[in-house]
Symmetry: C2
Subunit: 113 residues, 2 copies
Amino acid sequence: MYIAMNRFKVTKETGEIFEQLWKTRESHLDELPGFVAFHLLKGPEREDHILYSSHTVWQSFADFENWTKSEQFRKSHANAGSSAIRPLYLGHPEFEGFHVLQEMLASPKTEAA
Amino acid sequence: MYIAMNRFKVTKETGEIFEQLWKTRESHLDELPGFVAFHLLKGPEREDHILYSSHTVWQSFADFENWTKSEQFRKSHANAGSSAIRPLYLGHPEFEGFHVLQEMLASPKTEAA
């Protein structure tokens, strides 16, 4: 499994607009082989920004790579540098890719007697 | 849903030892209410370190808070500052907590005809 993350430092004034843009966007991730899950995350507030992070989970690194070469990727990122979005965050989004080394899932709980 | 992350900058020489320590540790997360999943992640290699991250997913922020007050938490972190582990990474682990704002899961795929 592979998780592609982007970290965004969003100014406090524009946090709500940033969230709204993500929530209302058209996503094509589900059309791609190996797509597992997507999460938009809101992290800690710091002096001059709020940290947001987007996580896209893929079955494998190869699935992630295929996505970056896809038409869906091109469409999703066509507006990323547009003047409407740029002023919402400080600097550039920071990309970090992670390989999953260990996974533990909650075991199914049985009702207490 | 809430994700508790810790980021570790591990020196390249000690990456394997660091991974081994995580993989062989005794985990008590599954004993706690609201535990969803744990992942140990290996991120990008940088000039003087490899970035690792641990992700613990909870059903709610309250479940995460309960864990931090639990006996299981105390046990897990009793060795975190010990002389055996400290030299494996640069500086301190960096904690970041994230609230999940949006979740999209892969839809079940049907076999092509």
